[in-house]
């Protein structure tokens, strides 16, 4: 019997830190099994051999911040049967979406010695704002176990079993005592999408919201409780302005607690 043809996989980078695609290389123990199950056709971070498409599956990391990338993402979409956006940049615009709340020209002149060489868009936008996305895998960075689960599910033709609940559910499943209730530590867990395994509360820290807003995130009620725990408006504003700042529920909540240093 002939070996079945392995699906081809491509990994694409847009505006990002590479952390999510590195999760693929971080697989270590599973890397050989992965290479055996899929044909890694295009993965510049891992190999200089870049084969042309079309590809069965594309993993897309990063947000759209330049005109060139706004064009390139359409080519990626056209050459991909299944397109999976991975990570907070690809799904919500990432930390670089802070530019959406400010004048990007000010940032450029503050950061670069020769601003004239910089050609960029005024906003950082998610992949789904440009092309159809088949699946979004949350995280900053993504969880490698969830990535392997998504790939395994695609190979088997089944629905991926990835987290859909709040971080609180993950905390309770692992038996972590709630840091907000027992320590009065402000935590974004109740309004944050699970997937990380609830790492921070297990080490006594509040959740930073790396996986973006949970479904039905009641950010206003959580902020009200943070206020009761003693958090000021500025710290609430900043807590919602991180890796998922432009995700709508977080954007709205940070705006509601605008600070003079960070105008709404």
């Amino acid at each position: 019997m002939a070996e079945p043809k392995r699906p081809s996989l491509a990994v694409w980078k847009f505006a990002s830190c590479d952390g999510c695609q590195l999760s693929l290389l971080d697989c270590e123990d599973e890397l050989l099994a992965l290479a055996g199950a899929v044909d890694i056709a295009y993965f510049a971070e891992a190999s200089s051999t870049l084969r042309p498409g079309p590809y069965d599956v594309s993993l897309v990391e990063g947000s759209i911040t330049t005109e060139a990338d706004a064009q390139r993402i359409h080519q990626v979409r056209a050459s991909s049967r299944t397109l999976i956006a991975i990570g907070a940049c690809a799904i919500a615009g990432g930390i670089q979406a802070l530019r959406n709340f400010a004048d990007v020209g000010d940032y450029i002149s503050a950061v670069y010695a020769s601003p004239k060489y910089i050609s960029t868009l005024a906003t950082s936008t998610p992949i789904a704002a440009h092309v159809k996305v088949d699946l979004e895998l949350r995280g900053c960075p993504i969880n490698k176990d969830e990535l392997l689960e998504v790939i395994s599910a695609l190979l088997a033709g089944r629905k991926p079993g990835i987290a859909e609940e709040s971080v609180c559910v993950a905390c309770k499943r692992r038996g972590t005592t709630c840091v907000m209730v027992a320590r009065g530590t402000p935590c974004l867990g109740p309004v944050t999408h699970a997937g990380c395994g609830a790492i921070c509360p297990a080490y006594g820290r509040g959740c930073y919201g790396c996986y973006g807003p949970a479904e039905q995130a009641n950010t206003a009620a959580l902020s009200a409780q943070w206020r009761r725990l003693g958090a000021d408006r500025r710290s609430i504003h900043l807590a919602f302005r991180t890796f998922n700042a432009a995700a709508e529920p977080f954007r709205r909540e940070s705006d509601a607690h605008g600070h003079e240093d960070h105008p709404a």
Partner: protein
């Protein structure tokens, strides 16, 4: 302190009911011997221990692991450990964990299948590695275990994993001497006195005269273990002191639930404006369902490996506060926080009675304490009834989309 509508059930009176042995007194040394005896008998002894600012349930190897001299101060959305004036080992109410973690674990492998030449072979989940001995089970928790027994073992189909874990469990109950700020077992008729469902029951007597435990056996296994411990007959003074311990807990209930007509009240009010009010405060985070010792819902999923040679079916805790819980073709049936909170509370206090002939609430107060924003099921019940709870701060929710 609030009045309660349940009938008093003094520990001494309850102790005489059923096939219990005459109470005996043991000292702290014998408690240590009890833990050692159970461990030597092959049990994983699970008991209260202090970790990460809370009294949680985990494996204990001796009396030194128990929360000596600690108690918990609990309010809606607030839990704090405090030092007691004495060295009581069970001088707290209940913490974030419940015995559900062990009998109905957060994740459980149901079966595994491996691809073979001929097709595939299915392997059943392995039986439990060790039997559990639970040390320090409260009256409300025994009722919670009895409720889960009904859910998992009572119908036409039994949960075999639960049955195996439950069958082998040895239960050392404790009569409550300290009620928490969110406790209301007296209202629900589930405590604070232990009445049934244990192998041994302790009442901790700590005072100037010493530190003893009144012990009674509730099963042959319990009687056999008790017989192996150094004990002495219970004095009238010890029996009276044990009765006072439970009465102190009963008088200290921080909350009260009016249960008369509650089922009919909730079932008649699906459109009460209070559901919108609570939805504005509710985070839909699912904490209440996770900490509830009776909430039993799970989701079942299959996973395959990369090579496509192995599949596993796993069961995991699920909550009616997630969208996936009520997802059917076309979307989630309960799409809003309002619908989800209403589903949870009306199931717990009303529909549960239709389904299992008992309330799903045992009055342990965990859902109140461990709600990050302090939503209080007793207060919500009172509000539906039309009583405004006195003295609660109005939530300062400036904006929101309940």
């Amino acid at each position: 302190m609030r009045a309660d509508d349940a009938q008093p059930e003094p520990a001494a009176a309850a102790a005489r009911a059923g096939a219990r042995t005459p109470p005996r007194l043991i000292g702290s040394d014998a408690l240590a011997a009890l833990i050692a005896t159970l461990a030597a008998g092959g049990y994983a002894v699970i008991g209260p221990t202090v970790r990460d600012g809370a009294i949680v349930y985990d494996e204990v190897r001796g009396v030194a692991d128990l929360p000596a001299g600690w108690t918990d101060r609990q309010e809606a959305g607030r839990y704090q450990l405090e030092r007691r004036a004495d060295g009581a080992l069970f001088g707290y109410a209940v913490g974030p964990h419940s015995w559900k973690q062990f009998l109905h674990p957060p994740a459980e492998l149901l079966w595994r299948a491996r691809r073979t030449e001929a097709g595939f072979a299915v392997e059943a989940a392995p039986p439990p590695a060790r039997r559990f001995a639970f040390l320090g089970v409260r009256a409300c928790e025994l009722h919670a275990i009895a409720i889960q027994d009904r859910v998992f073992l009572g119908g036409a189909y039994q949960d075999t994993g639960y049955a195996a874990r439950r069958e082998g469990a040895f239960i050392v109950a404790v009569n409550c001497g300290t009620a928490g700020g969110t406790c209301f077992c007296a209202s629900m008729g589930t405590g604070p006195a232990v009445s049934a469902g244990f192998d041994l029951v302790l009442t901790e007597l700590v005072g100037e005269d010493g530190h003893d435990f009144l012990v009674e056996a509730g099963s042959e296994a319990g009687a056999s273990v008790l017989a192996s411990l150094v004990s002495r007959p219970a004095t009238q003074a010890a029996l009276a002191a044990a009765g006072a311990v439970v009465e102190r807990a009963r008088a200290g209930m921080g909350r009260r639930m009016e249960t008369a007509g509650l089922k009919e009240l909730l079932q008649a009010n699906p459109e009460h404006p209070r559901w919108d009010d609570v939805a504005a405060r509710c985070l839909a985070c699912a904490n209440c369902t996770m900490v509830c010792p009776t909430c039993f819902c799970t989701t079942v999923s299959e996973r395959t490996d990369l090579a496509g040679t192995e599949a596993v079916r796993e069961k995991r805790w699920e909550s009616c506060f997630t969208a996936g819980f009520s997802f059917i073709h076309g979307g989630a049936v309960r799409a809003s926080r309002k619908a989800r909170y209403r589903q949870w509370m009306t199931h717990k206090l009303a529909h549960w009675i239709d389904q299992f002939a008992t309330s799903g609430c045992v009055g342990c107060g965990r859902c109140i304490t461990w709600c990050p924003v302090g939503i209080d099921i007793t207060e919500e019940g009172a509000a539906i009834r039309g009583h405004e709870a006195a003295g609660r701060d109005k939530p300062e929710v400036a904006h929101g989309d309940a």
